[in-house]
């Protein structure tokens, strides 16, 4: 997973569209004879964007009709409340939702505080020392480590390693902790960016009033940075929930026969993306419809969380 800048928190907007002066000049020059090369170039750019758009539409179109059909005839409630069955007409995604939502909660409880605290340390406490520069480099590199490598780490530490007695091995707890480690760098980077964007005059004012560092951070910096921090966290969360590879490495149940129930943190588990990797391997004629429904449910959850993050971001950036 590398640093995906499409998904980061608000940052100071870079200089926008050409300033009016240059625009005026360029229109002057071009308006009369728009030559072939210019139009061809622009057409090519638009065509590229159209390919992206078409691919996105085709992706959604490849699951929406079949998936909706199943959800309508079965009922959404039925589909999300039933556990896995080898009978496609009776199978459901209950265990997948349990696994995905439970790991979301664990990620929120673990990665959010830890990431926020790290970001505060980097921006407010550390100063520009050699150690803080080292930690910065470490975090940036962690953000670029492929997700599946985090799966190996999770396996070696939480599943088979020192924490086995706590996590119960291949469990949703191991999954949540592994995903927490995976999103931690994203949370730190986006939170640090949001904190950095808080004007230092605010801090100076606080210190001038005799506040301690923590008081300044808590009462002045965080309330102003929280929008960006939240956005980063939510987008990171959405990213973590879509990951299948690390969960396969730490031993998620691919079928879901015996995966767990709410509150069973240390038993067998599965998750929605893991089910998506398994169901297409079952007999297509019977399973394709439910597979599409499964993907639809997953997309609604993940795109929903993403949308929440984007709405929040726009809300907070508008205000700034």
């Amino acid at each position: 997973m590398s640093i995906d800048t499409t998904q980061t928190a608000p940052r100071p907007t870079p200089p926008t569209a050409p300033a009016s002066a240059s625009q005026a000049v360029s229109t002057q020059i071009e308006s009369r004879r728009r030559d072939l090369a210019s139009s061809a170039f622009q057409l090519m750019l638009i065509a590229s964007l159209m390919i992206v758009l078409a691919a996105l539409l085709a992706t959604l179109a490849s699951v929406a009709p079949g998936g909706l059909e199943v959800l309508r005839s079965r009922g959404v409630a039925d589909f999300i409340q039933r556990p896995f069955s080898i009978r496609p007409q009776q199978t459901g995604v209950y265990q997948g939702i349990v696994g995905t939502v439970t790991s979301a909660l664990i990620v929120t409880l673990v990665a959010f505080p830890l990431g926020l605290a790290s970001a505060i340390w980097i921006e407010e406490y550390a100063g520009d020392t050699r150690i803080s520069r080292l930690i910065n480099v470490v975090i940036r590199n962690l953000a670029g480590v492929p997700a599946i490598v985090y799966g190996l780490l999770g396996y070696a530490i939480f599943v088979a390693g020192p924490f086995k007695s706590i996590t119960g091995g291949r469990s949703v707890l191991s999954a949540g902790l592994t995903l927490s480690v995976l999103v931690l760098p994203i949370v730190i980077i986006t939170s640090a960016e949001a904190i950095r964007a808080v004007p230092s005059s605010l801090r100076d004012g606080g210190y001038a009033m005799g506040a301690t560092r923590w008081q300044v951070t808590r009462t002045l910096v965080l309330p102003n940075a929280i929008g960006g921090i939240l956005t980063g966290t939510i987008l990171g969360l959405a990213r973590a929930l879509g990951e299948a590879a690390p969960l396969i490495l730490i031993g998620a149940k691919q079928s879901g026969f015996s995966a767990g129930n709410w509150g069973d943190l240390t038993g067998d588990f599965t998750a929605l993306p893991v089910l998506i990797s398994d169901w297409p391997t079952r007999p297509v004629s019977q399973w394709d419809g439910v597979t599409q429904a499964l993907i639809l449910v997953t997309l609604v959850i993940i795109l929903g969380i993403n949308a929440a993050g984007i709405v929040l971001r726009n809300r907070f950036t508008d205000k700034d």
Partner: protein, 301 residues
Amino acid sequence: MIPTDLAGDTRRRAIDRGIGICMTGAAATSVVISFAIIAVLFRDAIGFLSSVDFGALSNSIWSPRLGRFGILSPVLGTVWVTLIAALVAGPIGLASAVFLSEYANPRVRRIIKPIIEVLASIPSVVIGYFAIRFIAPELVMRLFPGSPGKNLMVAGLGVGLLTIPLMTSVAEDALRAVPQSLREASYGLGAKKVTTVTRVVVPAAVSGLVAGMILSISRAIGETMVVFLAAGGTGARPTTPLDGGLTITSAMASVASGTDNVAGVGNAFQSIFFLGLLLFLITLSLNVVADRFVRRVRQKY
């Protein structure tokens, strides 16, 4: 002598110090995680390497459960998939970025950016499903009749689609970092917009564009699920992208999945740590290089 009231009351300072320690501890977690990754990968990769002959790695086939560890198969597969992905994501991502940064007015941007964000947030396993149900039958098998339904080309196209948003966003950032004065100077000399964009803006942003390309490649190399679902999983060395095959990542995933699952014994399971180390080192060096380029942009302007 410092007046005590200026130093603040001791409770307040104690809280402050305590919290400072907590924050330091939190930040240290990342360092611990990094060391853990390196330690785990090296420990088990070395454990694996010492349990197999070195000659075994030059075997023609990768099939760990059969004791065949021909490392060239997943490496070649990775090269093919990454190459195809880069050929898809590079031009399309760059063109989209140029359009967004140089041509689109704010209203168009407001529509297009979220679309690309939606694409970026689709889980890779869903793109994998799309690859086997759409890209394979509708594109690859039509363009190359007689190719198997799952092959490196299908996987590469899927991974390319997945990396477009990353390429677009890094490239767009790079283009927008080019100072307005350069564009104005170009217009001032009577250059047309297309000339300004291709001869001035893009060359000025080249470090950032290269960084974007490297990051996309690094992401493509690390992508697992699309390849796992769509590449076919054959352990023989691929000779063309229309062969079925596996990549470093999908080879790891297929060892870890299946009926004997993670419990898999002996060096078959350990082999994935070797693959993991290889993957980690490749992506790490790519990211470090990309970081250099990004920083060069920052220094320049």
